[in-house]
Structure formats: C-alpha cells, structure tokens
C-alpha cells in the first residue's frame, strides 16, 4: 500500500475557499438551487398544468353557478361566485400541494434523495426548496383561476399591491401544505400508503374551512376546526386581496403570521424527519 500512500499529498484537493462561512447565504443558495431545478422541469413539461385546470373549472362553473342561483349561503356584500373564487384558488393550490410529498418517495426510489442527504446542503434547505417549487406550481394554478374568474365576470382586484399579496399568499400556502405533505411522506414512506392518506386529508381540510362558506354559518365544532385549519387563513387573506369589495375576517396581518409560523414549524419538523425516508 506504500504506493497509494505516496499519493496522499493530493488528499485535500478541495480549496479552503469553498468552505462555507455564511450559513444563511448558503441556506438561501441551496434552497434556490433546488427550486430552480423544479422550475426547469416545469418549463419543459407544462402539459401537467393544463390538466390541473379542470377541477377548479368544474367547481366554479357547476357548483358555483348553482349555489349562486339558489342563494343558500349568506356571503354579505359579495355575490356567491365572487365569494367563492378565492376559496377555489386556495383549494386548487391545496390539492396540488397535499400530494407533493410523494415526490420525496419517488426521489428516494430513484436514489436522488440519498445523494442530496449525503451532500452538505442543510436538510431545512432540501425541504424549503421543495416547498418553494410547490409554490411555483401554485402560481401557475393561480393564473388559470384568474382566467376562469375573468371569463365568469367575477370582479377581480388588479391593483399592484393586491396582486403581489395574492402571489405571496399562494406561495406561502403551497409551501405550507407541501411541507405538511412531505412530513407525511417521511412517516409513511411508501407510495401506496401515502396516496391513501392524501385522499383522506384533502376533503376535511377543504370542507372544514371558509373556502366555500363563511365560518359564521358553521356549527360550533366545525367552526372551531375551521379556525384551526391553515387553509382558512389563506382563503381569508385571498378574499381580501383578490376580489373587489372583499374583506378579511381575521385581518391579513394575522393570516400572514399564522401561515408563516406554521410554515417555519413544519419545515423544522420535516427537516428532522427527512433522513427517515431512506431508512
């Protein structure tokens, strides 16, 4: 083995300058590098986005039109379709995000996840990178809902601060629910179990929220569940920002605080669970 040892001077070929000195800068760089990868994939295969437009279209065109006619739900100053549009936007973003966790199982099976876990990228960056990618997909969904809403003559608010606010809440909501989904994937570890749980989660999250009826109309226990449901805070903010004449029940600041706190907590929990998937 002496011959091999003679090569040892090359041992530390990694320049010292590469060693990280700025944890926050590195965290941001790693997160954006991972989100960038998802963006590139999405750009190459946009067909997926179109098929995802079908479900919200059905909700607005069928459910929305019928309920707007029978006026069964008290929605204050807004007509029912206008009340419902932000809810359907939040719902369609939720439905994408809640199944996003399966990508980590998929990447585990392909060996991609193992390579990322063996890299120096912090686990929180791996999780938040995925969460932001889900946010990008959510934004594409937002564009589709806006187009549907315009076609239905729903009065949208196009002032710049409002539109920027909608973008921010779509990204935060997508990130939050996709991180939740990643945490579930880390616990169940197989595709089959994950799909089963995903189905079970979406309906209660959607119906026990203010997406298609106000919390004030709910029986006490459903109302309590809706107030504990992050989706309600996303819908509440979107309702204030997206449509003309819309208003927030909790206050947009409260909505943002609740969603951001939930996101941070979920990213930390999921980062701790992440190495679980490969075990």
């Amino acid at each position: 083995m002496s011959e091999a040892i003679n090569k040892a001077p090359e041992f530390a070929a990694r320049p010292a300058a590469w060693d990280r000195t700025n944890p926050i800068g590195d965290f941001v760089r790693d997160t954006l590098a991972l989100a960038d990868v998802e963006l590139r994939k999405l750009r190459r295969d946009p067909a997926e986005l179109l098929t995802r437009a079908i479900q919200p279209a059905l909700w607005l065109l069928i459910f929305g039109q019928v309920f707007a006619r029978i006026k069964a739900i008290p929605t204050g100053r807004l007509d029912y379709l206008t009340f419902m549009a932000p809810g359907i936007l939040a719902q369609s973003v939720l439905f994408i995000a809640i199944f996003y966790g399966i990508s980590v199982i998929w990447e585990r099976d392909l060996g991609i996840l193992q390579k990322l876990l063996v890299s120096p990228a912090p686990r929180t960056a791996l999780v938040l990178g995925k969460a932001l990618s889900a946010g990008v997909r959510g934004l594409a969904q937002g564009v589709i809902i806006y187009m549907l809403a315009l076609a239905l003559r729903i009065p949208l608010d196009f002032r710049i601060p409002q539109v920027l606010g909608v973008i921010a809440f779509i990204i935060i909501g997508s990130a939050l629910f996709s991180t939740f989904s990643l945490a579930v994937a880390c616990l169940v570890k197989t595709r089959e179990r994950f799909m089963g749980i995903g189905q079970v989660l979406t309906m209660p999250l959607f119906f026990a929220s203010n997406a298609i009826y106000p919390i004030a109309t709910m029986p006490g226990w459903v109302g309590a569940a809706a107030k504990a449901n992050p989706l309600s805070y996303q819908v509440d903010a979107l309702r204030a920002l997206m449509v003309q004449g819309g208003s927030s029940v909790f206050g947009v600041g409260v909505d943002a605080a609740v969603l951001l706190a939930g996101l941070v907590a979920l990213v930390l929990v999921t980062a701790a669970l992440y190495p679980n998937v490969v075990r």
């Binding site: 001077p9 041992f11 590195d26 990868v37 392909l110 390579k115 063996v118």
Partner: protein
C-alpha cells in the same frame, strides 16, 4: 477546516472503523466491522447480496447512524462530525440516480451549487468534469436519453466536482454491459491517479474487485471474513485460485446463491431502468 487533512498534516488512513455495528430490530446487518483503508487506495467491500455492504456504506456516508462502534472518514467521526464528513466525501448510489428530466449540465450545476463551489469556478469545473468523463457532446441532452454507462459516468462526475477526499460508490457497475463497465473502471482509475482520491466501492462482482481494487474485505452475513490484496487472498486459498474461489472459501458458498429478496428486487429495478 483544520480537522480535514491538509497537505502539511496528511491523514494516511482515509476510512477507519472500530467495532462498527448496525442492527435492524433483532437482525444484525453489520456486526463488529473493523476496517482501515489507506489514503489514495481503491478499496473494495465484497460480498453477496445482503452481506451488509450497503448498510456499511450508508453508515460511512452519514445516512444511517451506527448502533455501536465508531467510524472515521477523512479523519472525521461520522456520528459526531457528520456535517464535516458530508463536505469531505462524494457518493454514487447503487441506483441510476441522475435526474432524467434535466440535462447532464444541469445535473452537474445543481451539485456544484449545493457543494458550495464558487460561481466563478462552477462552469470551469463542470466543463472539466464533462470532458474527463467523456460526456462533453452530451452535456445539453436530457439525461433520460443517456445510456446506462453514460448516466453512471455523469454521476461519478457529479460526485467529483467538489474534489472529495473519499469517493463512495455502491455497486458502481451493476446492470452495465461489459463495455460500459470497463469504461467506468478506467475512469475510476484515472480519478485516483489524477486527484489522489480514495475510492471505496462495494461490489459482488469478483472480476470488478480483481481489476480495480488494491485491497479488499469480504463480508458475509454482516461480518468481515477476509481482508487483504486480491493477490494475497488468492495465494492463501491456492496457487491457481480465482477471487471466486476465494469467496467460496471464506463465505462458504458461491456469490450467486445468497441474498435477500429486497436487495434483489432493487437490483432488478435498476436493471429495468437500464433497459
């Protein structure tokens, strides 16, 4: 970074384990494993499917915590200094894990970023790695159009961008055709020669071990049953012995007839992806 070896204070043992053990429930996947691998060597961990090779590599790459014992990689403790270990190593998984939806260049770019290679050097490193692995003309193609051998070479390029001290490869040529296998071997030897990288690979292919490795350890049912250079092990068994004979001698069976269902199915899945 004083803990990582510097030229002024070279660490001559790249990988060292003492009593390394990993349990899964009551099953002892790896038991009391002692390894000592010189810096700059090509080392092979041999054994049939289910011998504990992958579990060992997962412990050494910080993916899995040891149940007992210690392991040091590049002079760093895998349990106590896992973040530093991750900067010092490269890893190529058993599965063909380059991202098929990205181009070769993009696959390399992602890893250049997360390994902290400064922006000013990224492009140069990537171009160099592509050239070194013979992938320059395929750089802008989507990886899903690559052959199995090309994907494997791309993955080795990915794992070398940051010049790791130790490069771990789990079954690097599994499922590859003979020509692609020889190309991968040639590139691994060149890597060792050019950069002095210590290469740690697992294999159940005796020909691979014979061609490539300067020292080997044979594992069987979680234990190391033999260690030495391929030549010395063959000499121990008999004047005309092959490594296959060495394996049969120390593990008490042929390479083919041992192995678990799960491992086999994973290998088949990889083979299927290769078409």
């Amino acid at each position: 970074m004083a803990d990582i070896a510097t030229p002024s204070a070279p660490v001559l043992t790249a990988v060292e384990t003492q009593g390394l053990t990993r349990l899964f429930g009551s099953i002892k996947a790896v038991e009391n494993l002692n390894l000592s691998i010189s810096a700059g060597a090509i080392f092979g961990l041999l054994g049939p499917n289910g011998a504990g090779k992958t579990t060992t590599i997962r412990m050494l790459t910080t993916m899995l915590a040891p149940s007992a014992g210690t392991a040091r990689v590049a002079g760093l403790d895998v349990a106590l200094q896992s973040k530093k270990v991750r900067k010092a190593i490269g890893y190529v998984s058993q599965m063909l894990s380059a991202d098929g939806a990205l181009t070769g260049y993009e696959n390399l770019l992602l890893f250049a970023r997360i390994y902290g290679i400064p922006q000013s050097e990224r492009k140069m490193r990537i171009v160099e790695a592509l050239e070194f692995m013979g992938l320059t003309s395929a750089a802008e193609l989507l990886v899903k159009t690559y052959s199995g051998g090309m994907i494997r070479r791309l993955e080795i390029a990915q794992s070398m961008l940051h010049r790791p001290v130790v490069l771990f490869l789990d079954e690097p040529t599994i499922g590859l055709d003979p020509v692609a296998r020889h190309t991968v071997w040639q590139h691994l030897r060149q890597l060792q020669e050019r950069y002095g990288t210590t290469i740690f690979l697992t294999t159940h292919d005796m020909e691979e071990a014979d061609h490539l490795c300067q020292s080997i350890v044979i594992m069987h049912r979680g234990h190391a049953v033999a260690a030495g250079s391929p030549e010395s092990l063959k000499a121990q068994v008999g004047p005309t012995a092959s490594l296959d004979d060495v394996f049969a001698h120390f593990a008490g069976g042929s390479v083919e007839d041992v192995g678990g269902y799960q491992q086999s199915s994973r290998i088949r899945r990889t083979a299927r992806r290769l078409g």
